[in-house]
Amino acid sequence: MTRLGKRQLGWAAAILIFLAALALLPLAVGRDDVLNFVFLILLSITLAESWNIVAGYAGQVNLGHAAFFGLGALVARTLWIGGTPIVLAMAAGAGVATALALLIGVAAFRLRGAYFAIGTLALGEISRTTVGNVLSDISTLPTATISAYRLSHRYYLALALAAVSVAAVAALAASRVGLGMQAIREDEDAAAASGVGALGLKLTALALSTGLAGLAGGLFAYYHISYYPSHPFSPHWTFDALLMTFIGGVGTLHGPVLGAVLYVFLKEYLALRWVDFHLLIFGALFIAIVLLLPGGLVQAAERARRLLAR
């Protein structure tokens, strides 16, 4: 263990104070709209960071991410309504999502680059259509559960999950495993030639990523009072994660967090004024970032800092 520099200590303190402030928020602010808003940000952070692991670090653009979010929601919701404590139900949902991901991953990772992306997109659509056909009825919480509904419980769970996701990505980025993943992202053949077990690492990334997505899905199932079972399988969950991650900075720790905050802010703000207009703006912003600023906001901040330091 190396000695922590002053800078790292400062950061750690700032993060702790920030987390404490977020934890005290439900006590300080009694307004549900504020809590709902922060809840959405926290859920989005978890979703974006989970996608960032497989796409940002391991470089495998998974366009079927919603399938694992949806599966986590489906399993957790069913078990929870059946009487299982929510944390256990969410863990089970994450477990099922991860197990399926590993099963699919062995075949899907035969595909490289864009072929992996469109293959997983098709898999996601297969799962959405199938779930929509088999479970076509809307899922609503029982009345007893609704009357006992506490938003603050959802909020704390979301806060814990977002913190765990960010911490997991931080730990991963600093680890040997994470470095191996980044080597695969840069050049899979070269990484394999220098002794990196590509398939194993890609599966590890997929398992971590889909496990967190499954937990996020479980949180969604715990939060929403009624929705169609196929809704969490909708590709827009994947696309949201992709947008937030790229706008913030793909393959970085804080990029998806920044992206999620900006995305939810703009989405809520713009949606109030112009329905659906936010997607037009995000589409254009996204294209601009891919073409001009592949590193997202994080890269922009880095450039600005260098300019100022001159």
Binding site: V61, A107, A108, R110, L111, R112, G113, A114, Y115, A117, I118, G119, L121, A122, L123, E125, I126, T129, T130, G132, N133, P235, F239, L242, L243, F246, D276, F277, H278, L279, L280, F282, G283, A284, L285, F286, I287, V290, L291
Partner: protein
Amino acid sequence: MILAQQLLLGLLIGGIYGLAAAGLSLVFGVLKVLNVAHGELIMLGGYGAFWAVALLGIDPFASLLLVLPLSLLLGLALYWALFGFVVRADEETRVKNSLLIGFGLALALHALAVRLWTADERSIITPYGGAVISVGDLSIPVVRLLSLALAFALIGGLHLLLTHWRWGQAIRATADDWQAALLTGIDVRRAYLLAFAIGTGLAGAAGTLVSIGYSISPSIGLEWTLKALIVVVLAGLGSMIGTFVGGLFLGLAEAASAAAFGGPYREVVGLVIFVVVLVLRPRGLFGR
């Protein structure tokens, strides 16, 4: 007999699948760029025809004469504004960046269509829309039969263009080996531009046929992109006639699975074929 009727309808829509895939195949084969907003371009073409019919009162099939050139222009504009930048990168980055840009474009076009035309489902009503030709126990809707014929004519025209026109040959040479094409003095960038514009034109034409015989809404983009991708994976690159046959095959397969497992599963069969083919041939049937 019901099965035969369902298969017939599958075959009729299959022609449009083929046309939808032809544009994507051309763009992917020549530019090595995967435009996932292809379905949104089809959607825009459909609305273009819808507007032409609603505002100008012309015959829906005649609206092709308007939609096709406008789509070509849209293709030129998109190439200059976006995809022209993508083709400067090496092939690996090219495919990935085009995927991302197409995705952003799809999002923006979808939002734009909702603003312009609302999220409602629309289709063009023709005076002869209900007409059918009866052959034995089968009834063939005239509009869809015409659409199939037009789709075939357009694909045939494209085939002739690619084999006989000077620039068509340049496009095929670029698709085969752009470096060799460059060495023989072909303006590769011009070939890219033309191929992209023609691909967009074909998407517009496909959209017109979709809005006449079927229905359009701002959210059909992803569905049509996937259909086109499935056909491209099935038929491979290089032959437009082959792509058309692949479209017919997908239409038949969908109809057969709808008959066997029920209507809601008709989308699944194509996707399953797609995933299986991809996993068995990991570089895709695209790969040469």
